[in-house]
């Protein structure tokens, strides 16, 4: 059974009187444990597709099923709760809270759980150790390099132990060497920790780290490469 299943998914936006079709008739199954790269030109709908899979947005038509849950069946609150348990997000610009140190940034998603403070900090420290920043827990984002900040963001994404990581241009703001480190880390999380990774990228070299590559163009899947 695929971890992600999209059936006839379409998404359009209204801009004034104009209706903009972003995705059109997407059928897609992603198997558990996959590392999928979503590629395509700007405006092709990559991020929109990622947002639908991550439960950040709703399709105009069709259904999105993730981990056996039809996302359209969930209310706003229900969807928020579902995201907190099932999805880890990694963004291009890290989006760490600058006023919190690395440990507290990683701890953030756990604030919504019933874990004790001590357990939350322990889990956050473990996640930081996994991404190789166990010794930087007390550093604030401004005291870390871009690559280190993205590692903290990845630790934050995995701290609640979600099955699925959705990554939107995770190396888009990094130099080549650092980008390779981040991609290697995502590969380790995929292979050794069993996380399913869906990554949007413009970069063919980044996509090479994935086990599958999907191309989107004008809102449609145009090609699948293994």
């Amino acid at each position: 059974m695929p971890i992600v299943s999209l059936k006839e998914v379409a998404k359009s936006y209204r801009k004034g009187r104009e209706v903009i079709d972003v995705l059109d008739g997407i059928d897609l199954d992603i198997e558990e444990g996959d590392f999928l790269a979503l590629m395509g030109p700007s405006g092709s709908g990559k991020t929109t597709l990622l947002n639908l899979i991550g439960g950040l947005d709703n399709p105009t038509e069709g259904s999105v099923v993730v981990g056996g849950q039809t996302l359209g069946d969930l209310s706003g609150k229900g969807l928020a709760r579902w995201r907190s348990r099932n999805i880890g997000f990694v963004f291009q610009f890290y989006n760490l809270l600058p006023v919190l140190n690395a440990l507290r940034n990683v701890e953030l998603p756990l604030l919504l759980t019933n874990l004790s403070g001590a357990q939350r900090r322990k889990n956050a420290q473990t996640a930081l150790t996994i991404v190789g920043l166990g010794d930087r827990a007390s550093h604030k984002p401004g005291e870390l390099s871009g690559g280190q900040q993205q590692r903290v963001a990845i630790a934050r994404a995995i701290v609640a132990d979600p099955a699925l990581l959705v990554c939107d241009e995770p190396t888009g703001d990094l130099d080549r060497e650092t980008a390779e480190e981040i991609l290697d880390l995502l590969g380790i999380l995929n292979r050794e920790h069993g996380k399913t990774v869906i990554m949007v990228t413009h970069d063919p070299k980044a996509a090479d780290h994935a086990s599958h590559i999907l191309h989107l163009d004008k809102g449609q899947l145009v090609e699948q490469a293994a």
Partner: protein
């Protein structure tokens, strides 16, 4: 750290902006605390030592019209009156106008007989009685200006010049009296009426008011009516009231203090509201992507909105608490100048509670719009703005 624990660190995000906003709030709440304390002092009467057995006989129509001193004999004949004395408002400046304190020419023995709670050593009272230019002051006044017995104190007579045209009145300090331990310092400078009346250029034989001690306070109203009836058809008609009421009436001469303070505070807080609302709006704009990220983790719209609202309330309460605390800490400064005129000024718990409630209300008002915006924020739009 809890979800609410996110609120405090956010205030440290832009330290300069936060400090400036806190300073604005601090000033506003210092003003609030002082003005409320002053308004309460004005409206409550509240002079700690106002005796329930004392009446004050004042001119009926204006406090600047003197009453003839020989009214005293007539008042003394009213049944129920035990003793009568008199005082007057001298005005006067000691060194400079900001060194304000009341100065009353009085009959030494009569005055201390009626104000029995003001304690003076018998030999000092005798010296006061026997020294033409003698003066006695409260312990608080003596401490304030570093006076000691034997000092010669010059006062410029801004209302009353002397017969020779000079405005310099010199007094010899012959005694220091004290109020009761739990009462505020009376803060009054007393000197001989006889000397004053002989030496002044005009107004001879006049006094500002009489103080009457009654035997039975329950009959005070009846005695007051009898006194006023006695002078009803005189050109020097009187208005007699209990000391507490009289002080409240005196305070009203300054105008509707409640309305004035409310007006000032309204203007101050309207300005503060605009400033703080602008700060909160700016803080929200700076953090839109972060708030969106919180929502991606599963923070609900309501939780994110509540965090923003809590931040606004915390900011205002912090500024308010600082301002109220500062005002309470230095209230003695205000008391020195105003207590002799309007009675004890206290930053008490009701004023502190009002101030904190106002801070919460202010925070809720300034935080409402940003909180609503945060609540309504859609993740996709917010993240798209960040990437644009």
């Amino acid at each position: 750290m809890s979800a609410i624990g996110l609120v405090w660190p956010n205030l440290g995000r832009k330290p300069v902006r936060t400090v400036l906003t806190l300073m604005s709030l601090l000033v506003a709440f210092v003003l609030f605390t002082y003005l409320r304390a002053i308004a309460v002092a004005f409206t409550s009467g509240g002079f700690g030592e106002a005796g329930i057995d004392r009446l004050v006989v004042s001119p009926k129509y204006s406090i600047i019209d003197p009453l003839p001193v020989n009214h005293q004999r007539s008042i003394a004949t009213v049944p129920g009156v035990e003793a009568v004395t008199h005082a007057d408002w001298f005005g006067g400046i000691y060194q400079e106008p900001r060194n304000f304190f009341p100065k009353f020419p009085v009959d030494p023995e009569g005055y201390f007989s009626i104000y029995s709670e003001r304690v003076i050593a018998p030999e000092q009272l005798a010296a006061f009685r026997d020294t033409r230019t003698g003066a006695v002051v409260s312990a608080g006044l003596a401490e304030r200006f570093g006076w000691k017995i034997g000092d010669r104190i010059p006062i410029e007579g801004d209302i009353y010049p002397k017969r020779d045209g000079s405005r310099l009145w010199e007094f010899d300090l012959v005694g220091i009296y004290r109020g009761q331990p739990d009462d505020p310092d009376p803060g009054v400078f007393l000197f001989q009426y006889d000397y004053f009346d002989e030496a002044r250029q005009f107004g001879h034989g006049g006094v500002g008011w009489f103080i009457v001690r009654v035997g039975n306070p329950e009959k005070a109203a009846e005695i007051a009516s009898a006194i006023d009836a006695m002078f009803e058809n005189s050109i020097n008609a009187t208005r007699t009231a209990t000391e507490d009421d009289s002080q409240r009436e005196f305070a009203k001469q300054f105008g509707n203090i409640g309305l004035i303070t409310t007006g000032i505070l309204g203007a101050v807080f309207f300005t503060i509201l605009l400033l703080t609302a602008n700060t909160m709006a700016q803080a929200l704009r700076d953090r839109i992507p972060e708030l969106a990220v919180l929502k991606t983790f599963g923070f609900t719209d309501g939780t994110v909105g509540s965090l923003v609202l809590a931040e606004a309330i915390l900011l205002c309460v912090a500024g308010g608490a600082l301002g109220i605390g500062l005002a309470a800490g230095v209230q003695g400064f205000l008391s020195v100048y105003l207590e002799p005129v309007i009675g004890p000024i206290a930053v008490d718990w009701p004023i502190i509670a009002q101030g904190l409630a106002l801070a919460v209300l202010l925070g809720a008002i300034v935080g409402l719009v940003p909180a609503f915006s945060a609540w309504r924020l859609t993740i996709v739009d917010a993240l798209r703005e960040r990437q644009a």
